[in-house]
């Protein structure tokens, strides 16, 4: 266990060394939040509420969805693809740790760094620019904290799955890009799932994506009742468990058919 925690620490320190990159990151996310803020304000127009959400809840939703993305988002699928292509994965497999576990921990180190140096200050800055509403209820914050951790795991597991496909496809840059676009839409980052037409909501119910962005953001904006929040968090937890299966299966197959070229 020690070595995994050490890995989180190393990643954290590595990110700390290049922290200037993140100041512009906050700006970029703020620009995106701004774009959607104006769009949603225009969409609401004179209306008080759409699908039970007021315009302030909506702006808060947009802001927290983007800032939470900074926490759960990582590029370990791309890193894995690069390591597999370059053959570095051979060395990784010899080392006395679980490769996938290690990748997850690196992602977590990155996530923790961005939580403190990106999401939190970003949220503060954004709350000065746009009218946002923060919950005063401490249960909301606890639910949100649990939910955001689970959304990190779901997103990371999907990244691991995409990363493992490199073993079979060799070149999967297109797939990685496609996955990112699909997640942005179906996770509820761009539009809350409750805004989709009902048939689409029914389909999305059976997919893990809404556990990534929709659930924590809805909790944060108090758009879920306590009961709904608990149910949604349990669903997230179930997805984390379910996703372990395809990852393990693919990983075992991948290890068997792996051929390292040169080295």
């Amino acid at each position: 266990m020690d070595k995994y925690i050490e890995m989180i620490r190393i990643r954290f320190l590595m990110m700390l060394a290049y922290r200037t990159n993140y100041y512009t990151g906050i700006l970029i996310y703020s620009i995106n939040i701004g774009a959607y803020y104006f769009l949603w304000s225009a969409i609401y127009g004179e209306k008080d509420a759409i699908e039970g959400m007021s315009v302030i809840q909506m702006s808060t939703y947009v802001a927290v969805a983007w800032m939470a993305r900074a926490f759960y988002f990582n590029n370990i699928d791309r890193e894995m693809a690069a390591e597999i292509k370059e053959g570095k994965v051979a060395v990784e497999l010899i080392r006395p740790y679980n490769y996938l576990g290690m990748k997850t921990m690196q992602g977590l180190g990155e996530g923790i760094f961005r939580l403190f140096f990106f999401s939190v200050p970003g949220m503060v800055i954004v709350s000065f620019i746009f009218p946002l509403q923060f919950s005063a209820d401490w249960t909301t914050w606890i639910f949100f904290a649990v939910s955001i951790v689970l959304s990190f795991f779901i997103n990371t597991q999907i990244n691991l799955l995409t990363g493992i496909t490199t073993f079979f496809l060799f070149n999967n840059t297109g797939l990685i890009r496609a996955k990112r676009v699909v997640i942005d839409l179906f996770s509820g980052l761009l539009i809350p799932i409750s805004f989709f037409p009902l048939w689409a909501q029914d389909v999305l119910k059976y997919l893990p994506f809404q556990g990534i962005s929709y659930v924590p953001s809805m909790i944060f904006t108090n758009s879920f009742s306590n009961n709904e929040a608990i149910q949604a968090i349990i669903m997230q937890g179930i997805w984390v468990l379910i996703l372990i299966i395809p990852i393990q299966v693919l990983w075992i197959i991948a290890k068997k058919q792996l051929i390292i070229q040169g080295g």
């Binding site: 990159n21 701004g34 839409l185």
Partner: protein, 261 residues
Amino acid sequence: MFYIAIFFQYVAQYMKTRMQYRADLFVEIFSDLLFQAVNLIFILVVFGHTNLLGGWTRDEIIFIYGFFLVPYALFSSFFNIWNFNERYIVKGELDRILTRPIHSLFQIVLERMELESLFGAVTGIAVMIYAGNNLGLGFSWTDPFLFFLFVIGGMLVYGGIFVLIACISFWADARTSIMPMMYNIGNYGRYPVDIYNSVIRFVLTWVLPFAFVGVYPASYFLGKEEWFLYSFLTPVIGIVFFSISIVTWNSGVKRYRGAGN
């Protein structure tokens, strides 16, 4: 003339290399399509809850997005200078470019082109035809010419802004993240500018004129007379911004000292 010949030589060469990896090419075009589809789905879902967006109807917004895709496709096919700093300055590749008897920017355009992005223009035109049909837009013989003019104008606006940002590398060594920021600001131009506040509107019109890539030129075809003046300014703004960027580029190249090695 020589430049045109060189251009087609490069295109031929490019086709050969891309056709070698057809599956990859196919996936890339597919993921582009997916990206455009997501933006369309966003518009469609949003209009499930409202009839007007700042006074614009669903099909008008879709039409603007369709128009935006065309100059954007041209831009992303020919102006892949987003990693100019790392690729050409830090690695010293620009030395190689400068020894050749063609304008340096033109060579970089040729080297870095990604013709598969042109597929986005096809999507854009299809989207425009769909939305135009729904709106019952008339069609006159001048439209194709103006369309061409506006598309080129829009591409030059984008090209000009990004070349200018690339020029920063001539004066400052440090890596900047301005490029990705600009891509995100560019997205503002896809929607009607009247939904933004006046400061942002001013910036999008005169400082970083991304509105000239989407809303303004598309307004002409939508018959929004209050914006006609801006529509016709599109090629002018394009030429002005692109000329500024060329002048800056040339003086930047004069300052350039190789990275050593």
